[in-house]
């Protein structure tokens, strides 16, 4: 009797949580992405040889660079916001503004970097 | 027998009265609290304004004044011994709530804050007195939460979402109750030495009401079916300020903070009807005044509502005219921000439901069915009284809005109900435990749940020609039109005929949900049956009373008639008919006189 309480990932992602929820999801993806890829990267540098080179080749590809750079930049900017409101909980009142500001910083920085990555990829 | 539980004391209802009773009874007896809602969902949580007690924290006040105001407010129908008992206990019980952690607002000295409320006066000057102890505009919420929390602390047994559908009496003694476990649809029998009813009000009889869906008067209806009378049912309070069309309550506290009622011509009309206290007259008086304004075409745009205006400029203007002062003697003034701080919930309601911002706009209001002065007759210890000789029914208790002690008489003063539920909830709990500790279990009838099962199964047997929803709407509409603020013989007769017609038609109901789990359709049908029962009793009691008093105002008998009607009505249900008897009113200190505000 009763449907299980389990909330599947797809159901969870469909919750209309607005801006803050989106940043939470992206922050998690970013952190996870970095942790996994930096871990592998360190291992790759350690192993060098064929395996290391193969991994490094992936890391050099521009698609991957775009992704990892997204992870890094978003996680860093959002992480700063989290750190600030966590240490001064009163500032949470300005959550909405903070998130606007965060995107305002993230988008141009990411755009410039993405442009640079893609240009260097195209330029060879 | 499966699903049989045994407790010394059973409390039905987990509102303020039930929780207080449960808390006290469980100290000395094995107690269970049964409630059809989770305790924190009870309607006590909706109470806004405050709880009355003559603490005198801000200005001089005494329990005697509180007592007199209550007697006067009751239009002299309240039992004065009971009222004195309650007002004397008031300060101590408010302190007790504070000791339980209730977060009252505070005065600058750190004491419990108090605000003026309708009908509460300084008996020397006749002016409003600050007597309502409050926690913003959610005092009831805080009482409910605090009591529930204390019950958790004291490990009181709860049966949440169990709906009591039958009350067992054996040889004139209470023996227990039968309840449906909503989550499974199973019937449970609770065998008890003492039963306390604390099931709250029955405002859902009327169309425009401040009462919750759950307030269907189950307790009174169950008692009636076992030969227990219902007292003073004709007295039902219409609160003057319900949100137009929705009935959601706007607390009297708004007027306590200086808000005024304004008619369609932009005039403040209350001084015409209550020279001294004006907008803070008692509720029956204000509701009638509004009705008269509307009847004479002075509603807003000729419609059936008026404005309640609490904008700072309006408040300040009339406070200056009234010469209202702060405790230190300076003129009383407010800002929009202060209003927002003191009445956050009210402002939220208006913004949510009306799109009206009370800080900048007046609120459309109309009288709304609010509070049952009548109910199961009891004495000050919550013991249920069977007849005009005050014979106690062994093992049966009642407290809260479903009981009639009677401290509210023909009209309740604001903030006296929260006081009533905690004072009498406490005493009922204590007395029930004492009784249970000296009594044996009455033998249960064989198959105790059988009548309850039959009463529910009826709703599967109809031909399906009628629907609960439609019958309920017809009842509410009829009752609001003809059993509302003003009453007249033909109207009441019309209402009675209609109720009787509906009582026939309900037999055609066929519940479409055949399941057991959360079969709310079945429960709602059963509740409608209770509402109709109480609507009938209310109408019959009202028809008989040929006078106007408090909440019962008749156009054909506009005067109070102490010679013939200074007495309580006791309505019995016998063989499907309502029978009326009368009981004397206890008058100790205050002889009835004309009631002017």
């Amino acid at each position: 009797m009763g449907l299980s309480r389990n909330v599947s990932l797809s159901t969870a992602l469909r919750y209309k949580g607005q801006g803050p929820f989106l940043t939470f999801i992206l922050h998690r993806i970013g952190g996870l992405g970095m942790a996994i890829f930096i871990g592998i990267h360190i291992l790759a540098s350690f192993l060098s040889g064929d395996v290391g080179n193969a991994i490094n080749a992936v890391y050099e590809s521009w698609v991957f660079q775009l992704f990892i750079f997204f992870c890094v930049l978003f996680h860093a900017i959002n992480g700063l916001r989290i750190t600030i409101v966590d240490l001064w909980p009163k500032l949470i009142e300005h959550e909405r503004e903070a998130i606007w500001l965060e995107w305002a910083v993230f988008i141009p920085v990411y755009a410039i970097a993405a442009f640079a990555i893609i240009r260097s990829a195209l330029g060879g | 027998m499966e699903n049989l539980h045994q407790f010394d004391v059973i409390v039905i209802g987990a509102g303020g009265a039930g929780l207080m009773a449960g808390l006290y009874a469980s100290r000395t007896a094995k107690t269970a609290v049964i409630s059809k809602l989770y305790p924190s969902r009870s309607h006590t949580g909706a109470a806004q304004g405050g709880i009355a007690a003559a603490l005198g924290n801000i200005e001089k006040d005494t329990p005697e004044w509180h007592c007199y105001d209550t007697v006067k407010g009751s239009d002299y129908l309240g039992d004065q011994d009971a009222i004195e008992f309650m007002t004397n206990e008031a300060p101590q019980i408010v302190y007790e709530l504070e000791h339980m952690g209730l977060p009252f607002d505070r005065t600058p000295e750190g004491k419990i804050a108090q605000r003026p409320f309708g009908g509460h006066t300084n008996n020397e000057s006749g002016r409003p007195v600050r007597r309502a102890c409050h926690a913003a505009d959610r005092t009831g919420h805080m009482i409910l939460q605090t009591l529930y929390q204390q019950c958790i602390k004291n490990k009181v047994n709860f049966f949440d979402e169990f709906q009591v559908v039958d009350f067992l009496m054996v040889d004139g003694k209470a023996a227990g109750v039968v309840a449906v476990e909503l989550a499974t649809g199973q019937l449970h029998t609770f065998h008890a030495k003492a039963v306390i009813f604390a099931t709250g009000g029955h405002g859902r009889i009327w169309e425009i009401t401040s009462n919750a869906y759950a307030l269907t008067g189950d307790g009174i209806a169950l008692a009636l079916r076992r030969g227990i009378p219902a007292q003073d049912m004709e007295f039902f309070q219409f609160h003057p300020t319900g949100i137009y069309k929705l009935g959601i309550l706007i607390t009297e506290g708004v007027r306590g903070e200086g808000g005024v009622l304004i008619n369609g011509k932009g005039e403040r009309f209350m001084p015409k009807y209550a020279k001294t206290v004006k907008d803070l007259a008692s509720r029956d008086v204000v509701s009638r005044s509004m009705y008269l304004e509307i009847r004479d075409g002075r509603g807003i745009n000729g419609q059936n509502y008026v404005y309640l205006d609490v904008r700072a400029e309006t408040v300040n203007k009339y406070a200056a005219i009234d010469g209202r002062t702060n405790p230190d003697g300076t003129p009383y003034t407010v800002t929009g921000e202060e209003i927002l701080k003191k009445l956050p919930d009210i402002i939220d309601f208006c913004r949510t439901y009306l799109g009206v911002d009370p800080i900048t706009q007046p609120m459309p209001v109309q009288p709304t069915a609010h509070y049952a002065m009548g109910g199961i007759p009891t004495n000050v210890y919550g013991e249920v009284l069977l007849d005009e000789n005050k014979t106690v029914v062994p093992g049966l208790f009642a407290a809260g809005e479903c009981a009639c002690v009677s401290v509210h008489g023909a009209n309740r003063l604001g903030c006296n109900s929260l006081l009533d539920i905690v004072v009498f909830g406490k005493h009922a709990g204590q007395r029930a435990a004492e009784y249970a500790n000296g009594a044996d279990f009455a033998a249960l009838p064989t198959a105790p749940e059988q009548p309850a099962r039959a009463a529910l199964e009826v709703f599967y047997k109809g031909d399906g020609a009628e629907k609960v929803f439609d019958l309920a709407n017809e009842m509410k509409h009829e009752m609001f039109a003809n059993m509302g603020v003003f009453r007249i013989e033909e109207g009441m007769k019309h209402a009675l005929a209609k109720i009787r017609e509906l009582k026939e038609r309900i037999k055609h109901i066929k519940v479409s949900d055949s399941g057991k789990i959360f079969n709310m359709e079945l429960i709602n049908a059963w509740e409608l049956n209770n509402l109709l029962e109480l609507a009938e009793v209310t109408t019959v009691s009202a028809l008989a009373r040929q006078e106007s008093r408090g909440g019962h105002a008749r156009e054909d008998f506009p005067k109070r008639d102490d010679a013939n009607w200074l007495k309580h009505t006791l309505a019995y249900k016998k063989d499907g008919k309502v029978e009326l008897k009368y009981k004397t009113v206890a008058i100790t200190k205050y002889q009835p006189k004309e009631r002017v505000y």
Partner: protein, 143 residues
């Protein structure tokens, strides 16, 4: 009115492993910011403005390790692989690894709810953290 102390002694404020790591996560975030800023400023002083792309500067900032500037136009790698930068990189590595591995624990805690599972997880994470730190440090200093 209440005059008793409104400060909880350390033993009573519930500052257990979870909360310690919680505050560590914030402080390590700030520390990483400081180190990254330090790296970026250092790179600019060392002439990165003309010799490196924006993305490269950021990459260096995140891990001031000379292999990260190999592919740029920097003429001389020597100043970029000084002791100071190796030290900065190591600090970032240690802080970042602790932060990141604990981050993984936090995410895993959402799904592993048995106390034993969590204990195993904590143990594994400590092992991972230490080994990545050692390997990383080895890469930085020895290769």
């Amino acid at each position: 009115m209440a005059t008793k102390s409104r400060t909880l002694p350390l033993s009573k404020r519930g500052l257990n492993f979870e909360m310690l790591m919680w505050i560590f996560t914030r402080l390590s975030a700030l520390a990483m910011y400081a180190l990254i800023l330090f790296g970026v400023i250092g790179a600019l002083i060392m002439g990165a403005r003309n010799q490196m792309s924006f993305a490269d500067i950021l990459r260096w900032g995140f891990m001031p390790n000379s292999t990260h500037v190999q592919s740029t136009n920097v003429p001389d790698l020597a100043p970029w692989s000084s002791f100071l930068w190796n030290l900065t990189a190591t600090l970032l590595l240690l802080v970042g690894t602790a932060h990141g591995v604990h981050g993984l624990v936090v995410i895993a805690d959402d799904y592993v709810t048995s106390p034993r599972g969590r204990l195993v997880l904590r143990f594994l994470s400590i092992v991972t953290m230490i080994s990545i730190s050692i390997i990383g440090a080895y890469v930085l200093w020895a290769l």
